[in-house]
Amino acid sequence: MEIKVVGSGCANCKNLLKKTQDAVAELRIDAQIIYVTDMQDIIATGILQTPGLMINGKIKSTGRVPSVKEIIELIKGA
């Protein structure tokens, strides 16, 4: 499973990264978390409002920081 946290380094983006790591740790799954910070790469994802969360190439949330519980649900649903 590939999880992307998309954000240019703002406080919310780092917050989302941390929560995603917590969610993956809690689920004990083998997932690769990629933190996308380069502006060109961000635009290429199509996301306009950071932070964004993508799982296996699909946008799951944008412009907000979901809770760890929500992220777990999103990962399970993917």
């Binding site: 240019s8 703002c10 502006m39 060109q40 961000i42 635009i43 290429a44 994802t45 199509g46 996301i47 306009l48 409002q49 950071t50 699909k58 946008i59 799951k60 949330s61 944008t62 412009g63 907000r64 920081v65």
Partner: protein, 340 residues
């Protein structure tokens, strides 16, 4: 019919203007603090408490309702809608979508690049960028609360016209070459992008989060704004204010616009200042020019935009907005007898 008009007036006074709160605070200031609200200190304390509480209540309720609506229009969707439009219609739609798309100046760069790389004309993007901070649904209701409905609606209409005309001029001038070239090298994934569908519960949660995050971001501006408003209200002599900003000073709109440009504040922080200025007899056009200048011409967002456009385009953009605000200010002053 009369009952209808009266009950609307009553609702307007109690819900939007919160006269009950004003009465409650007056009671607190007079009985609790032992101050006379007819005297300076008492009046300032009353103004400060009443305005702060009123703005926070209105802000929370409005942001909640509006964020719920906005959750249906993420900028990714806006881009898809705008991608199929051309000409003046695209500018008008860009300006309209600017009023409902959630957008903070911190995301203006990804937004600008995202719109432009998806092939949107920069004029349309600028229509969006002008209207987005200038006219949002919350500010309209706040204006109606602090002034009246005529002023609120007039503000929205001229704000949108400014966004449409400003963007159209930028389109006509063919300024694409003044966008930093790397912007065009980025290939956006604008077409066929799938956005996650949200349930009502998720939208409500988004609305609640928005209220908290916006209040966390603007509370200080509001406290400062209300403080300045209270100072203007009770302590700065009226003749000084009217000499600088009054109708008889031909430069009043210009002064207000230039004073507002370097300031960075949310429209919510400027409202109490505007309210106090109007109470001191400053023309409505002068006050609106000040508010528009603070929100649409902020220095920090200019610095951000500088990363994606060349200085020349930035100067053209700022000049168009500046001239537009000046015209709006003078026209509103001239027609103010229709509004107040």
């Amino acid at each position: 019919m009369n009952i209808l008009v009266e009950s609307f007036g009553w609702l307007n006074d109690q819900v939007l203007k919160m006269n009950w709160l004003s009465d409650l605070i007056r009671l607190l200031v007079e009985k609790g603090f032992g101050l006379e609200t007819t005297e300076r200190i008492g009046a300032s304390v009353h103004f400060y408490l009443y305005d702060t509480i009123k703005i926070f209540i209105l802000l929370s309720v409005l942001i909640f309702a509006i964020s719920y609506i906005q959750s249906f229009f993420p900028p990714e969707r806006t881009r898809q809608i705008l991608g199929h439009m051309t000409g003046l219609r695209a500018n008008i739609l860009g300006a309209l979508l600017g009023t409902i798309t959630p957008f903070c100046s911190c995301s203006s760069i990804p937004l600008f690049i995202g719109f432009t790389s998806a092939g949107l004309p920069i004029g349309v993007t600028f229509s969006f960028l002008i209207s987005s901070p200038l006219v949002d649904l919350a500010s309209v209701l706040l204006l109606a609360s602090i002034f009246n409905w005529k002023i609120a609606i007039a503000y929205v209409v001229v704000g949108l016209i400014l966004a449409v005309i400003g963007g159209s001029i930028i389109s006509k001038l063919k300024l694409e070459k003044y966008v930093e070239s790397y912007v065009y090298q980025i290939k956006g994934a604008g077409e066929g992008l799938e956005m996650p569908e949200q349930s009502t519960r998720e939208r409500l949660r988004f609305a609640r989060e928005q209220v908290l995050s916006i209040i966390r971001k603007v509370w200080l501006y509001i406290l400062i704004g209300v403080g300045i408003g209270a100072a203007i209200h009770g302590w700065i002599p009226e003749n000084l204010i009217s000499a600088v900003l009054g109708q008889q000073n031909a430069f009043s709109v210009l002064i207000a616009t230039l004073a507002g440009a370097p300031m960075y504040a949310d429209i919510f922080g400027t409202l109490p200042i505007a309210e106090a200025l109007v109470a001191k007899g400053v023309g409505i056009g002068t006050v609106l020019a000040f508010m528009m200048s603070v929100t649409a011409l902020s220095l920090p967002s200019m610095i951000l935009l500088k990363k994606v456009v060349k200085t020349r385009l930035l100067v053209i953009f700022a000049s168009i907005v500046l001239v537009g605000i000046l015209i709006i200010g003078y026209v509103f002053n001239a027609l103010s007898y229709l509004l107040v």
